[in-house]
């Protein structure tokens, strides 16, 4: 069955290749740091299951220390100049879009069909991982097509991948690190403490106040945890079920749907939602780490108010 057992070793090999190529990059004064960093990350994917939980924790700590000590540089693999790219774009023209479009098309087809494939009655692809497997297959297919169509050197995929990986740098690990932080917070009971706190300060006698407290609480708690999924059970149990739904008879479907979207407003506002907010700033080489958050903050703020109004009008129609 194709699933994580196929995806993780492949990811390990790619990160390992980034590490090896970094080690020989004379243009990067911090090449050793890069090599060790991506090498350790590769270890996590290749043999992480055999390291034990503490081993993986120590590995994560080592990765954070390397990044925190400023030992990550930006490698400079040989690539095409902007003049060469202008010329190549004229030569290849619209064909350049083909591999780029192949990615979403393959993801779509893969997500729809991979689950149904089976060999001798056993599923070929782990249904739970179908989208992830589809994304990996799409990336492989697009790389191969681009390499053939545009006659790219054999070293190009890994060297170009490393070029972009170094631009993202430590931010690439942040989403996974934050997920682990969420687990520690859960063990420590952080969510429950905040939920009790919000429930404690929410006024119980006004419908609008309860709705506002729930939506605002979802946004603020999501900002603090980086994830609306962590905020939802805590605040819905603490505020929505007893008050908005229980006391004021709000329609649970409306309340929960809009409550979750209020949490998403918080996601737009927090650096803790790293893969949405910090990673693109690195990928687009923005000087301000928080420029994306700044750009979406007004939309998030207005949408939070809109959600309060929508919940207050739509949830109590009876």
């Amino acid at each position: 069955m194709i699933g994580l057992t196929f995806v993780y070793p492949l990811a390990g090999l790619v990160f390992g290749a980034f590490a090896a190529l970094s080690a020989f990059d004379r243009e990067n004064p911090k090449r050793l740091g890069n090599a060790v960093f991506w090498g350790l990350f590769a270890v996590c994917f290749l043999v992480g299951d055999r390291l034990g939980d503490l081993g993986n924790g120590v590995l994560a700590l080592a990765l954070a220390l390397i990044a925190g000590a400023g030992q990550l540089g930006v490698g400079k693999p040989r690539t095409t100049t902007s003049e060469e790219r202008e010329r190549l774009a004229r030569v290849h023209g619209a064909k350049l879009f083909l591999p780029a479009l192949l990615i979403p098309v393959t993801v779509l087809v893969g997500a729809l069909t991979l689950k149904r494939l089976s060999v001798h009655g056993a599923p070929l692809v782990d249904p739970k991982q179908a989208t992830l497997v589809a994304l990996v297959l799409a990336s492989l297919a697009a790389t191969l097509l681009a390499k053939i169509l545009f006659r790219q050197p054999a070293s190009a995929p890994l060297q170009e991948g490393r070029r972009l990986m170094d631009l993202v740098g430590w931010a690439a690990l942040l989403p996974q690190m934050l997920a682990a932080l969420g687990a520690v917070f859960a063990v420590a009971g952080v969510g429950k403490t905040i939920g009790d706190l919000v429930a404690h300060v929410t006024p119980v006698d006004s419908r609008l106040a309860a709705v506002t407290a729930y939506c605002l609480g979802m946004a603020v708690f999501t900002m603090m945890m980086g994830n609306a999924f962590a905020a939802f059970p805590v605040l819905t149990a603490g505020v929505a079920l007893p008050l908005v739904i229980g006391r004021f008879h709000g329609d649970p479907a409306v309340v929960c749907a809009i409550g979750m979207l209020s949490g998403f407003c918080g996601t737009l506002l927090t650096p803790l939602a790293a893969n949405f907010n910090l990673v693109p700033a690195a990928l687009l080489q923005l000087k301000d780490r928080y420029a994306v958050i700044r750009a979406q903050a007004p939309t998030a703020a207005v949408m939070l108010i809109v959600n309060v109004v929508l919940m207050n009008t739509l949830a109590f129609r009876r």
Partner: protein, 224 residues
């Protein structure tokens, strides 16, 4: 209550711009120790979750494809294509992308677009080219940064206010499961239907901002 100190560490650490990876470890240690765990126990819990969440980082496997395409001139081609459209402006391109992203996410295609696979190689070069064409020359660093940031922001808004219309998305399943445990039965369809008003509002709100964004850019460039 002391466990909340971890949240404080996160907020301060990010505000003071320490390396976020270190901030995360420090916050985990703070909350873990406050909850009575030993440092070794904290590292164990952290390491276990770090390992089980590896799938989050698998998405980086898309980078080699994007890099090869950039090497072959994809960004330049994206620019050329946009410059042929005389009516294109940064705001209008982003509005079209917002609609596409919301619709595709509503169909469950959340992974079809994203910051690595669409925003960096296609969307950002297109909006930049359109903004340059309008400004009649190269953009100031400030405007360039704003155009790029708004491209990424539009991808996020489109994704967040589209995906909840899809029945089988994680958040919908989470809500159904949670309410079920609390003794309330809610159909996934009811939840996705009630995500539509917010989705429409998000399109109007962010779309209006994008139209204003165009005007702001022109003013910015003339002013300098």
């Amino acid at each position: 209550m002391l466990t909340l100190l971890g949240v404080l560490v996160v907020m301060l650490g990010f505000a003071l711009r320490f390396n976020p990876l270190l901030v995360v470890i420090a916050a985990a240690m703070t909350s873990g120790l406050a909850a009575g765990l030993s440092p070794i126990e904290v590292l164990t819990v952290f390491g276990k979750a770090f390992r089980t969440n590896r799938y989050v980082s698998v998405a980086w496997l898309v980078l080699p494809a994007v890099g090869v395409l950039e090497r072959a001139g994809l960004k330049e081609q994206a620019r050329t294509t946009i410059l042929r459209l005389k009516a294109a402006s940064a705001g209008r391109i982003l509005i079209a992308y917002l609609a596409l992203r919301q619709l595709s996410a509503a169909l469950g295609l959340t992974q079809a677009a994203g910051h690595a696979q669409t925003v960096r190689p296609l969307l950002a070069p297109m909006t930049e080219a359109a903004a340059e064409a309008r400004a009649g020359g190269a953009l100031s660093d400030n405007s360039r940064e704003r155009v790029r940031a708004m491209s990424a922001a539009t991808d996020n808004v489109g994704l967040f206010f589209g995906e909840d219309i899809f029945l089988a998305i994680g958040s919908i399943l989470l809500i159904v499961g949670f309410l079920d445990q609390s003794g309330l039965t809610v159909e996934p369809l009811a939840l996705s239907v009630w995500a539509i008003p917010s989705a429409l509002a998000a399109f109007v709100v962010h779309g209006a901002r994008l139209l204003l964004f165009d005007r702001g850019l022109v003013k910015d460039e003339v002013g300098e």
